[in-house]
Subunit: 397 residues, 3 copies
């Protein structure tokens, strides 16, 4: 397999030693080459699976999932990644309640990790808390490993926090790389990350933040568009600016969806809640003020309703580069006339891009698996080469 060997040769050149025995919290905490390593390993694992070659790293071992919110898609992506590598998933369901901190987190983290090789956490509801909670868990099991409580060091994978959604942004990026024929072709491409109207409330900020936090490293022209009052975390905007400059791209903001779409190579229209509102909500949850939460919700729905014109229509799509920008979404989308009366995207646009959207999503399990792979394997190139050479059947024949 010449192509596969070529991919391994590329991987050999990259520096990613720091990923070994480490965690994955935010894409911008990783070097460019580390991100490239994730993409390369993800592609390699998918190639091996398509060839019916086993990619089991683990003979036994657990992957622990911890979701603070219902999540069919992320749950199945994580379960798929674990299964691909030979880990059995065990869910720790804690419901939506505010989780305890301190002693309880430290203790629980260790008690569930005796055979855990990876812990995947989704905790995106509370501003200032999700990412912090993940670090608490990771620190606890790192200490547990050092002290001899655990026989292995579980790796933490951020499955969505209040700041970033790295497995989504990385899967999106890998989709773009495939669509544009290589990471080297992205320089100068315009991507519009824009708000869109949704009749539902309180969608997390981690997707737009994750997208601008990652795409600005590729030399792309990244435009963030939203109505006034729908600001995202300012820290991430600052980061995006800095990164765009370093990568030779740009980061701009606008309150016009039309401006963002104009000549865009890629559009990503998606609803989210205003950062300030999410902060207020976090406080209300902290106080258990359910009435306050209900009132806030009503206000936000009314605020949303003033921006129903923020819809990805055929007219807007026609204004993109050659009228053929790549339409992206993390799914599920609010499709006008299909899943809701008025929503984020016109049904005919969604229909035309369905296959691409499903493919976009299909990269996520491989991205997660690659993150685990790079944290667990000292010499990924050697192991991938060995897997390909041994050609152990995934499905026995």
């Amino acid at each position: 397999m010449n192509t596969f060997e070529a991919v391994l040769k590329k991987l050999e050149q990259l520096h990613f030693r720091n990923m070994y025995q480490n965690d994955f919290f935010l894409t911008w905490e990783k070097s460019f080459e580390e991100l490239e390593a994730v993409f390369t390993v993800a592609d390699s694992l998918r190639y091996l699976r398509s060839q019916n070659i086993s990619t089991r790293l683990f003979d036994s071992g657990l992957g622990i999932s911890l979701f603070r919110d219902n999540s069919t898609r992320t749950r199945f992506s994580f379960a798929s990644a674990c299964n691909l590598l030979g880990l059995e998933v065990q869910d720790l369901d804690e419901g939506k309640s505010q989780i305890a901190h301190g002693e309880t987190v430290r203790e629980t983290a260790n008690m569930i990790s005796f055979m855990a090789d990876v812990i995947g956490i989704r905790d995106d509801m509370y501003i200032g808390k999700g990412n912090a909670y993940m670090h608490e868990v990771a620190d606890a099991v790192e200490e547990g490993f050092r002290k001899g409580v655990l026989e292995q060091r579980p790796t933490l994978v951020n499955l969505q926090c209040d700041i970033d959604h790295p497995t989504q942004a990385m899967a999106d990026m890998l989709h773009i790389i495939h669509e544009f024929g290589g990471i080297e072709n992205l320089k100068g491409k315009k991507i519009a990350m824009t708000w869109a109207y949704s009749p539902s409330y309180g969608k997390p900020l981690s997707v737009p933040q994750g997208i601008i936090g990652l795409m600005t490293r590729m030399g792309m022209d990244v435009v963030l568009a939203h109505p006034e009052g729908y600001e995202i975390m300012s820290d991430v905007e600052e980061l995006a600016k800095k990164q765009a400059k370093e990568s030779g791209g740009s980061f701009t903001k606008t309150h016009s969806m039309a401006e963002a779409f104009k000549d865009a190579d890629i559009v990503y229209p998606k609803s989210w809640a205003p950062y300030q509102a999410m902060e207020v909500r976090t406080d209300l949850y902290g106080k258990g003020d359910m009435e306050g939460i209900y009132k806030l919700e009503q206000e936000l729905l009314m605020q949303n309703a003033q921006h129903k014109d923020w819809e990805c229509t055929e007219e807007l799509m026609a204004t993109t580069k050659n009228g053929k920008a790549l339409y992206m979404h993390c799914l599920p989308a609010d499709i006008s006339g299909v899943s809701c009366k008025e929503g984020e995207v016109a049904a005919s646009v969604f229909d035309r891009y369905r296959d691409e959207l499903y493919k976009e999503a299909s990269f996520k399990p491989y991205i997660i698996a690659a993150m685990i792979f790079l944290a667990k394997v000292g010499d990924p190139v050697a192991v991938l080469r060995k897997l390909e050479k041994e050609r152990k059947d995934r499905l026995y024949k």
Copy 2:
């Protein structure tokens, strides 16, 4: 192993190519030889397991279960079948709510299937909907596979729909085959599929329909008995008539339990709800008319209560062939004086047949595994032979 080799030789003669990369919806959509292949593979897998020989087809891979109703037995049968072949089960619990159709089904089906080799669905509550829903899911993942979203084609196994309960009927049939010493001994045997009184409400029609839809292909004399007003789907009755004629058996109906039991070789007394009532209920659920549902339920319980004499008693059993008909049930049964005051079967009858009833149930995991096996393996005879030759320990010794 001469016997095992003889079984493989038989399998070699059967035509079942169409099952490869295909789904299992209804038994009557399969040829007689395809059904024989399922029985043969089921027996082979059970033989190998009894010899502590691994039957893992899959090194990794997921089996997705989707139940629209609580289900301990079917859930564990599916999980057992998946485990026997090396697949890890992931449950997608959607509760009893009416499931969305169209876009949502297509999307969800793909999003949960990135590593799915099989999807097992139980959806028997809504007339005209369960089977249709399964086809929607199967079409979606077939398309996902063709479009490159999925790296493998998940096989759909019907774990009970509104029309048929193929894994139950096939397990029942395999039990009969074993009890009567071979499929060739069933010609002319009389089987009574009869309604029986239950103090509970709304049991699905898929068991009686599945039984008459399958048994009429074996040259058996199939009698369907129920009180007036407890009709099943007329389409399935028509099918049963046609099949009985073709197979050299018969299909008759009666409103007398005594007539059905008279000289029967096999009796299958079991409660079900009238087809018309199930149709009405489906409409009421569609409208969300919970009051209407409650009213319907009361009416049906009163209707049931008029037929408490439809009980499988010792007196009735004595009228069967030599007083020793094989008593069957899909379990759990309503046992008079044990699980309810008055029910489907007398405690002494149930007691006498307990071992047989448990054995009847024990075939289901192997039937499900055989369905998956035949859908996944291009050359089942070769693979079974290889598994037996390699003799890999299931439990390491």
Copy 3:
């Protein structure tokens, strides 16, 4: 590996044939050498895992867990043990409701066990019922195996009943063995199993009962301390007396926490509910008398509140042997000022022993795995030796 070989040599000398194809209900139903075998196999499995050597006994197979109560820790310990040996866990959640007996138990036990190699049950809420229920399940699957319903005999592991908590007590014991440098060093050591104040209600008796039921076999001086009115099962006390005598140790009781702590080598301060109250509660649950249960709960909380001085303080710890007794707890503990206002243990004491407490807990998955191992493998020494020689990677390298 000389040490490992030495361990196997020791195991070779022990008599534990009765454990093969058997269950694990109560520690005092096992011979001393059988318990030693469990400790030795547990240490061996942990050693192999620490060396990245696969300990998969099972190529496929299920571990069924059945919890009558929420249980994160025990659930993960059982799942970890199963995973370590290659079994996939399937949970049977029956909620807290009183479980049916007789026919239903027999039937369900078989229906979930077609591929089950082990069934782990936690049922500690109802006095006189939990252990009895486990025996019902074990008898049912034993019969199912004998009758050919099941192709293997599932082993029952008691994950906590109304009488004993053997996996906890055995893990605690293995922790003590490691801390004191060997089982032979325990003779004459003083262990204080004492009640402690908790602001919560109805903690099970199985921990103190399990501890005195096991530790009195080691030649230790076992002291049971609690306020008047907090008696445990008298049968277990009688047993403890008898065992202490036979082992050359002692079993004494006191109503003074200070007396128990004085010069103790090990202290185990932990809350529990009075036996009589648990009996009353069992009756109330049987009658469905929720008001009565609520009233009883209030009374017990008030009764508890009279004993807030039963706290494991620094002052008390200072009175133990050299002021350095080993502090133990089954976790989670009620830590004063941390998880509650006033509780079982002072925060500074808990803090100082945190690493030891986590290690104590970390033995449980290995203890459970060892119980399964000894029930499943005819020649454990040979299999352990073979696993070590073959050195199959757990994590592929």
